[in-house]
Amino acid sequence: MIFPLYYLVFPYLLFLIIYAVFLIINLYHLIAFSEASLAGFFMTFLLLGGIAYILFWTWQMSLPIDWNYPIEMFQNLGSFFKP
């Protein structure tokens, strides 16, 4: 089975969607159940800044990767079952 390397990005994107849901729930809790405060603002700023940095780092590190590179999986599976 051969597939291009960019297929790896799909589960990553799925993770990011789930991540965004949890992030929104957290932010909703902070906005809905507490008063605006410096501590809340600072921690939210730290969170969003950190996320932006990690995503930027991921993007930077992914630039030299050839995402069309073919990945071969289970290529020896047939020979495995041969006597």
């Binding site: 390397l5 993770f15 991540y19 902070l30 159940f33 507490s34 921690m43 991921t58 590179y69």
Partner: protein, 180 residues
């Protein structure tokens, strides 16, 4: 959102205390975050040093990058969730009642109220090395007729809070007796 609207503050009611756990209680989470981030970075450099050939292969490089990104993002959100859990545990003391708001994880929330005139016994406790140094501890509030008691966990200056609650409870009792 303000605490006044959160507790549906009555017209004659005044918020006296707005308590949450002492900030020193959040420090272990910061240490835990540093350890988790260091572990991630450590594993990355361990792989890069011992198995440099992995980083020359396109597929391995991509897999390691995706996994690292997922790991660091998850650690970061875990830290923020811990902060939310810490920050949204609030005890509000007014001149009429005590409101106990507890956040348990992301999807659990408990709000309990107690009329001040029902307060019968208040105990403050400051136990342990750090609690003594940083002056924080528990305040136990026992009500008449109820076995359950309110606990303010690791709040700053617990002895002062106990005195204030006893005084407020006395005032509220007098007010209710005057009305009756």
């Amino acid at each position: 959102m303000t605490y006044s609207s959160l507790i549906h503050q009555k017209s004659y009611e005044k918020i006296v205390y707005n308590l949450r756990r002492h900030s020193i209680n959040f420090v272990p989470y910061v240490f835990f975050l540093i350890i988790l981030l260091s572990m991630g970075a450590g594993v990355y450099y361990f792989l890069k040093t011992l198995f440099p050939e992995l980083f020359l292969k396109n597929n391995w490089q991509a897999a390691i990058l995706m996994l690292s990104s997922v790991y660091f993002l998850a650690v970061w959100l875990f830290f923020y969730t811990a902060f939310i859990d810490y920050y949204l545990d609030v005890w509000i003391v007014t001149n009429d009642r005590i409101v106990d708001i507890r956040q348990t994880g992301l999807f659990g929330r408990t709000i309990a109220e107690l009329d001040l005139f029902r307060v019968q016994d208040v105990t403050s406790e400051c136990k342990g090395f750090f609690a003594t140094i940083f002056n924080y501890g528990n305040v136990y509030i026992q009500t008449a007729g109820s076995k359950q008691r309110f606990i303010f966990i690791n709040v700053p200056d617990p002895h002062h809070v106990r005195e204030a609650i006893i005084r407020l409870a006395d005032e509220d009792r007098k007010y209710h007796q005057g009305q009756g």
